[in-house]
């Protein structure tokens, strides 16, 4: 672990997800040396609401801030509407973690993580202006380095590190780099496409900011199993909490479209069972309200549009993701479907392309499928590789399912299988493939 460089207190107000922020909060409230009982979760929650209760200036009221923030999450807004540099901003973070854990709503939880991640990115990219220095980065490279260290990322500032006429002001240990970069899709994050020398990945400033953004996204996702039922009851009985929960319920109701998805309804064009692992993973992530990468969005849209789903159904996939904007999503889906622009309908990516985007999940423990790895088993026992998630996968999955179905048909008394119908259906799959 990197050594902890002390960070200015203001950083903990602005970035409440930093390690050590709860100690700063307790210190500011004069509770650092209090007994365990005084700082128990329930007592702490009550104290926070008492300490930051201000109905005269609603902006400084903790309950108001939390409610406003949750409204932002529910409406897919990606910004804080209240101050992000005061102690209340710090105080609301642990409470939001608790409230979202109580709610168990993954879509809201991921929307919260998305807002914190985007805020981190924007804040670290921002500039400050002064008469003496003009406009310059609000956070210098060393300050970014300190934030990395606080989060356990081994990253050093290397001011004069010029390679091929480009200055790479940061070097990150490959282990730290991989721990975050593997969560990002796209060729540019692959180690092979980085200047990687002697265990260090050379990075420009904006790369480090994007890596921090992803780190924050993962760190701020609520732990839905953190609170046991007994404690949950006690927390829900706190009046401020119960009021917030009640309000959130209403907000969710008002935004019901965002919280319901047509992804897994029974009358899909291609049944969910026939979806390849890569698409199942993207759908799962979308259904949990996780932020999808650009490539993930394109892949799932191309998949839906090329499996006879309507534009409406395709737009529906994105309703649950944190930055959903219906008009933008609809425009882009229509473009991909060929209803706009030059009228060209985009084809589905092939497996090689998906692999290069790191979206192939053939061996994923949850969604993986042996079919993708070994290929479709032909009648003669040989295997045909799966090269395309629609043409090849769907065809061979149908064959596989029908073979399973056929093997489960009970045998008659004379030992023969009553399999005329299933034999027919395999033939129909073959003829379908021939047509394609």
């Amino acid at each position: 672990m990197p050594s902890q460089t002390p960070l200015p207190k203001q950083y903990f107000y602005t970035f409440p997800w930093l390690n050590g922020s709860s100690e700063i909060l307790l210190e500011d409230m004069g509770l650092l040396s209090q007994s365990n009982e005084a700082t128990s979760v329930v007592n702490m929650i009550k104290k926070l609401f008492t300490e930051f209760h201000n109905l005269d200036q609603v902006e400084n009221d903790l309950e108001y801030r939390i409610t406003e923030f949750l409204k932002q999450c529910a409406e897919s807004k990606e910004k804080f509407t209240t101050s992000t540099d005061d102690i209340i901003h710090l105080a609301m973070y642990p409470l939001l973690q608790i409230i979202l854990s109580l709610l168990g709503n993954r879509i809201l939880g991921n929307a919260m993580a998305n807002i914190y991640a985007k805020h981190c990115q924007e804040e670290l990219r921002s500039h400050s202006t002064s008469k003496q220095h003009g406009s310059r980065n609000k956070y210098n490279d060393y300050q970014i380095q300190s934030i990395c260290h606080n989060l356990g990322l081994e990253c050093l500032v290397t001011p004069r590190n010029m390679i091929d006429h480009i200055i790479y002001p940061f070097q990150m240990d490959f282990q730290s780099y991989l721990s975050v970069a593997t969560k990002l899709t796209g060729d540019r994050w692959k180690l092979i496409n980085r200047i990687f020398v002697k265990g260090k990945v050379n990075l420009i400033r904006d790369d480090v900011i994007l890596l921090l953004r992803e780190m924050v996204r993962n760190k701020t996702k609520p732990d839905y199993k953190a609170i046991d039922p007994e404690l949950k009851k006690k927390i829900e009985d706190i009046p401020e909490i119960s009021q917030i929960l009640e309000r959130v319920e209403k907000i969710v109701e008002q935004n019901s479209k965002k919280f319901t998805s047509s992804l897994f309804i029974a009358d899909e064009k291609i049944e969910y069972e026939l979806f390849p692992p890569c698409m199942k993973m993207i759908l799962f992530r979308a259904s949990q309200g996780e932020n999808l990468s650009h490539n993930e969005r394109l892949a799932i849209a191309f998949y839906f549009l090329n499996t006879n789903h309507s534009i409406e159904e395709t737009v529906d996939i994105f309703r649950t993701i944190p930055d959903f904007d219906e008009s933008i999503a609809r425009y882009q889906v229509e473009f991909a479907a060929g209803s706009r622009g030059k009228g060209k309908k985009y084809k589905m990516y092939n497996c090689a392309k998906l692999r290069s985007f790191r979206l192939c999940k053939a061996d994923d423990p949850k969604f993986g499928d042996r079919l993708c790895i070994q290929g479709g088993k032909r009648k003669d026992g040989t295997f045909q590789p799966i090269k395309n998630p629609i043409n090849d996968y769907v065809f061979w999955k149908k064959v596989e399912l029908q073979r399973i179905h056929r093997s489960q048909i009970p045998t008659t008394l004379d030992g023969s299988k009553t399999s005329q119908t299933s034999q027919d259906s395999v033939s129909s799959v073959h003829s379908e493939k021939t047509k394609k």
Binding site: A181, T182, D187, R188, R194, G199, N202
Partner: protein, 424 residues
Amino acid sequence: MNLTQYYLYKLFQAYYKAHLKNYPTISDLPNREFAFIRWDHPGMQRHIGYPNSNFLLDYLVKYAPRHSYRSATIYSTPSADKMEHKGYLGCDFVVDIDSDHIPTSCQHRHNYVICKNCGKLLLGDKPEECPDCHSKKFKKIVWICDECLNVSKEQVHHLIDGFLLKDFNIPLSAIKLNFSGHRGYHVRIESKVFRSLDQEERREIADYVTGQGFSYNIWNYKPVQSNMSGFRIDQPGWPGKIAREFYKVLSQGSDYTENIFSNPRYGNPIRSNVLRILIERRIDLIRKLENKNPIWGIPHVGPTTWHRIFEILRDLIKADIDVVVSIDVHRLIRLEGSIHGKAGLKVVDVPYEKLDEFDPLTDALTFPKESTNKLTIKITAPICPPIRIGKITYDNFQPDEEYTVPLNVGLFLLCKDVAELIKN
């Protein structure tokens, strides 16, 4: 157990008994899962844990298993019979290099299959089905020769020299190397950092050392008017590796260059007319590479051909590893110090500095090479390819003939299942 198997069991047992005192130490032994394939029991016995090495050695002496494995993973309860109950604590980073996965010319000379149905013999790899009776069941004979052992060794050098030491900056002392007991090597890194890597992070390392996912766009490799903007030999990362390999190939002469691009290990060769142009411009290209000039303009050689040239160069640079092994965090690997039941050779530690002088067919023999013990065997397979043990190559084995051979030679042939023991 037939007579041959019983004798092999006794030989293995004698080996383990003789090595009780100097048996290699297994790191974190109480946290490892062990697994065995015994002579007297079908299938694999797994989910076995030992509190210390005495228990392991007792088992090895008692059952002298045909194959012995231990987990690369460390668990809090390694003997739990379900993976989710084992308590995953971390997994060493393991790289398996085996000439089984690498196309070599010798495979077609010494590997063969026999159809279990009609007895048809076919040289090379296992076909989909027997051309005569269409059966899909074969007995496979995989042999060992200097060529395949050297290919594995070469790939270990690629991995350790080319990637782990230079790029990943891993100290040599942290890299453990074993001969696998058959046709390859296992490279292990047991540091805390590597043990904590998840599957995706391991995949990324595997992709890096195998050259997967290289993006021409990102590295700015593109046609500029009629030229190609290529790479420079002093560039860091993979572009520099490709440029340096290209320089190395071109510098070794026209014949060498032609051979590399017309006989690639993987994929299609470069078309002969294009290759001729490339060779004609060889000196010019060498000069450009030496001058670190990345603009390589050759008429009639377009971006697709350049990409293919780079793929061939990539395959020369990469470490040809079994990627699945490196990604898997629940892998069983051969137990150090055990005997490989398919070759009768030992799984031994090989210090990397001594890899070049390490000769598996001398240094991994189970019994002392100076042993005067002999075995009388009868060749049962239709073909028994030559085998070098120590400095002597044993060949001209004929089917159904009996031979009296040194103990290590007999052990190898019996383990390979091409011979049976003759009772004296």
